[in-house]
């Protein structure tokens, strides 16, 4: 390989046909005169723009049909011509400098010699995937196992995205089980009910994972008084769009019942109906409380799901799956409001150092204001979220900018690629070139877990019942 040109943070290398080069490969351009090397990553492969190649190809095309012939080529120069035709241009991004001691620095303010530099493949895994103290095996790169450090997911905001069927839920499950395996408390907001059997292997064996699945009328049962005014008022305002005036009246009613120790959903409904207020306020409150009653989430207020119980299910590596399957959007939003409220209480009280929330298709149930809340306030109290979505444009731009780790699977749609190109952890060209056309289960890792060195990984198979595959008729 030879250096062709460098412009900005882009280096172009000439690769001859016998040289192995693939997209996402790393190469080290070693300059012996300065005892260091420029670390570059291939983001695109093109044909080298060799002069005259068009004429050659046109002539070859002529021979395809009515022409047949033979070269008497004693010097075998035709093989050299073929080699030139297949010569490739590897468009690379500069990722840093490898110093003599093997350490990586971000310095890119020098140029390696074009004539004396040696270009060789570089196993970037030695820099980023030793696994650290808590290794998580995520897959393979060029046949070599890739392990990330679980601490790279700690304290951050993660996004897993890719088009439908590309393998993003698979990776989410792998990360979830691995994190739980390292003792991390995990909660999953499961829209499709595909996490409920994670504790079983494909052949039905029980795994070591400690998994608790809760669903409406199957463990998800709350007591109004125990949830408290703040949570219930939040549900009414944010999930059920209660106007502010009605919300004030509701607070007054709540406080009166609370002073008598009589807070319950039926009591709230009956009090509202006799409360002296404007009819429209009464109707607004009554209808919304009735909706709450009909969700089935408050059927037995004597045996509710409390913060303590939630804490018990997730501490020391437990996984709590909140099954939102078959629930309408209102119920989903109510449940998410309640859960985020409860988690906030748990984390604010320091009962738990931190928790990891895996939110599948969060745009289906997360209100707009929560996006900011999750990446700012909740992050500081220890709730670290992983968003999983196949609609990257539904995630706010601010989320991409603040994401600490991004796992990107295949995308072909320009609009989707443009949306994820806003991440701060990589330049948009890297994403645009590397993501398009990658096969199923192959993922581009960006962010802390790979020390900001973008890496393509074939995600590890998982021996659990995922139930995430699309249901088919002709099968």
């Amino acid at each position: 390989m030879r250096i062709y040109r460098k412009e900005g943070d882009e280096v172009q290398l000439i690769a001859f046909p016998d040289e192995q080069v693939h997209k996402a490969d790393y190469f080290l351009i070693e300059d012996p005169s300065v005892s260091r090397g420029l670390l570059v990553q291939v983001i695109d492969l093109q044909y080298a723009n060799v002069p005259g190649v068009l004429e050659d190809i046109l002539r070859d095309v002529m021979t395809d049909g009515e022409l047949d012939g033979k070269d008497v080529d004693p010097l075998n120069i035709s093989s050299e011509v073929d080699a030139l035709k297949d010569t490739r241009l590897a468009v690379c991004k500069v990722r840093g400098t490898i110093d003599q001691d093997g350490s990586l620095t971000s310095s890119t303010s020098w140029l390696p010699s074009r004539t004396t530099s040696r270009i060789r493949p570089y196993q970037v895994t030695r820099l980023i995937t030793n696994g650290g103290h808590r290794p998580v095996k995520v897959g393979h790169a060029d046949g070599e196992p890739v392990q990330i450090d679980a601490t790279g997911l700690d304290g951050g905001l993660n996004i897993i995205t890719g088009r439908k069927g590309s393998g993003k839920s698979h990776l989410a499950k792998l990360l979830l089980l691995s994190m739980a395996g390292w003792g991390a408390p995990c909660i999953v907001l499961d829209v499709n009910g595909e996490y409920v059997n994670l504790h079983k292997s494909k052949d039905g064996r029980q795994s070591n994972s400690r998994l608790t699945v809760l669903a409406v009328r199957s463990g998800l049962n709350f007591a109004t008084a125990k949830l408290g005014l703040r949570t219930i008022a939040g549900v009414l305002s944010h999930a059920l769009d209660l106007p502010a005036t009605s919300s004030k009246v509701f607070t007054t009613i709540w406080r009166q019942l609370e002073s008598r120790g009589e807070v319950s959903l039926p009591n709230l409904i009956s009090t509202v109906q006799t409360w002296s207020c404007h009819e429209s306020v009464r109707d607004a409150l009554a209808s919304r409380l009735q909706v709450l009653l009909e969700t089935g989430l408050f059927t037995d207020e004597t045996n509710p799901l409390t913060e303590e119980k939630i804490l018990h299910t997730i501490e020391n590596g437990g996984v709590l799956v909140v099954n939102l399957k078959n629930q309408n959007q209102t119920v989903r939003r109510i449940l998410v409001e309640i859960f985020l409220g409860e988690l906030t209480k748990i984390l604010s009280s320091n009962w738990l150092r931190a928790a990891f929330l895996f939110a599948e298709e969060a745009h289906l149930y997360l209100r707009d204001t929560y996006w900011d809340d999750i990446v700012t306030r909740m992050r500081h109290i220890g709730l670290f979220t992983t968003f999983i979505t196949n609609q990257p444009d539904t995630v706010q731009e601010a989320i991409y900018r603040q994401a600490d780790n991004i796992f990107i699977f295949n995308f072909t749609n320009e609009h989707d690629i443009e949306a994820i190109g806003k991440v701060a952890k990589a330049d948009s060209e890297t994403i645009r070139y590397l993501v398009r056309g990658i096969p199923t289960r192959r993922c581009l890792l960006l962010g802390n877990v790979v020390h900001d060195l973008p890496m393509m990984v074939d995600v590890e198979p998982l021996d659990v019942r995922t139930m995430g595959e699309t249901r088919l008729f002709f099968n």
Binding site: P51, G52, R59, E66, L67, D68, K70, L75, A83
Partner: protein, 367 residues
């Protein structure tokens, strides 16, 4: 040693699509001459030819003698003979050769030469391409000893005697024409250029031999020139015949021959101006002098009826030209070959012309 072991004969014999007799190996003497000239390269530095597209092809100018004819003679009126396109299929073959400069060394230049022969078959074309062969042509006078040795291996002509590239290319092209004259029976051979010979670069005896061999195989030899240096009052002779729309022939031999002294230049063909198709261009055409008029017209009719497709130019000859021409990619490949097989180092020297004239110094028309 050059990689000559990778040639030639065995794979060609396996190719059933090429008519028997068309699989001529490159003459050992030519290979030896190439090998010998390139041996002197070892350890030299090569200033490779710049692969700017505007420069491609400038080495291949035709080397025809120029001649201005008297205006009165042309205006006297020449006989126009119509050409009737005939659909009869007979063997038609054509050949062409090309040379190109690869780069400069301290002592000379490296050139590549390639020749192509194309045979028209009922359902397709078949071609054989010989080369490229590489020649290092030095500027300096060589000792008499070397000249003698080279003379023996190359039909009495050494590289040092030939001196200029056109002679080498002519030699290769004449060899290819010789192959066609031997292999085409009862057909037509189309050559690129003319049947004018008799200069040191282009010995008349060689052309005569080619014509004789073709005649012995009942084959008619036609030479077609895309451009001609024949002028009338400074104006190209082809422009005098542009008005006629139908396929036709003007025989201008008598005028041309009258203007030339009988020695040393020999016109071995009848010089004509031809138009093969109504929408085509005019070309200078040389017809083997020994061919009678009726046979010649019949041959032209067959070319016009079966081989002329594009702008009134025979397709076999067009393909021969296309396949012999070097592309920039091929020149790069040859440069790569020379560097890796002859232990030379690439050392691009700055272009004086470009340094002096900047963007105005790249054209070949700049003096």
């Amino acid at each position: 040693m050059l990689h000559r072991t990778q040639e030639l004969i065995e794979p060609l014999r396996e190719l059933k699509s090429i008519p028997e007799g068309n699989t001529h190996p490159i003459p050992e003497s030519l290979l030896e001459l190439s090998s010998r000239s390139m041996r002197s390269l070892r350890g030299a530095s090569l200033n490779p030819r710049n692969m700017s597209l505007v420069e491609i092809g400038i080495d291949d100018g035709e080397s025809e003698e120029s001649l201005d004819l008297g205006h009165s003679q042309v205006s006297m009126g020449l006989k126009q003979t119509p050409i009737q396109p005939l659909r009869d299929t007979i063997p038609i073959a054509a050949c062409d050769a090309a040379s190109v400069k690869i780069g400069e060394t301290e002592t000379g230049m490296i050139f590549a030469i390639r020749a192509v022969a194309v045979w028209r078959q009922p359902d397709r074309f078949v071609f054989t391409r010989w080369g490229p062969l590489l020649f290092h042509i030095t500027n300096s006078e060589e000792p008499e000893r070397l000249r003698d040795e080279d003379s023996q291996v190359f039909g009495g002509l050494s590289v040092k005697t030939l001196r200029v590239l056109t002679r080498l290319r002519n030699h290769v092209e004449r060899w290819t024409q010789g192959v066609l004259s031997e292999t085409v029976k009862n057909g037509i051979i189309l050559l690129d250029g003319s049947l004018t010979a008799g200069t040191p670069d282009n010995p008349a005896s060689r052309v005569k031999n080619i014509l004789n061999t073709a005649r012995s195989n009942h084959t008619i030899t036609l030479a077609l020139s895309k451009s001609t240096q024949l002028t009338v009052g400074g104006k190209n002779i082809l422009t005098f015949f542009e008005a006629e729309r139908t396929p036709h022939l003007f025989d201008i031999s008598s005028i041309v021959e009258a203007e030339y002294p009988p020695y040393p230049v020999r016109f071995l063909g009848r010089v004509c101006v031809v138009k093969f198709s109504s929408d085509g261009f005019l070309f200078r055409l040389d017809i083997d002098k020994e061919t009678d008029e009726q046979s010649a017209l019949s041959a032209l009719g067959r070319v016009a009826g079966t081989d002329v497709i594009f702008h009134g130019y025979p397709e076999t000859l067009r393909i021969a030209h296309i396949f012999s021409t070097f592309t920039a990619n091929e020149i790069l490949a040859v440069q790569r070959f020379v560097v890796s097989n002859h232990r030379v180092t690439l050392q691009s020297r700055p272009s004086l012309r470009r340094s002096l004239f900047g963007p105005f110094g790249t054209s070949r028309y700049v003096a």
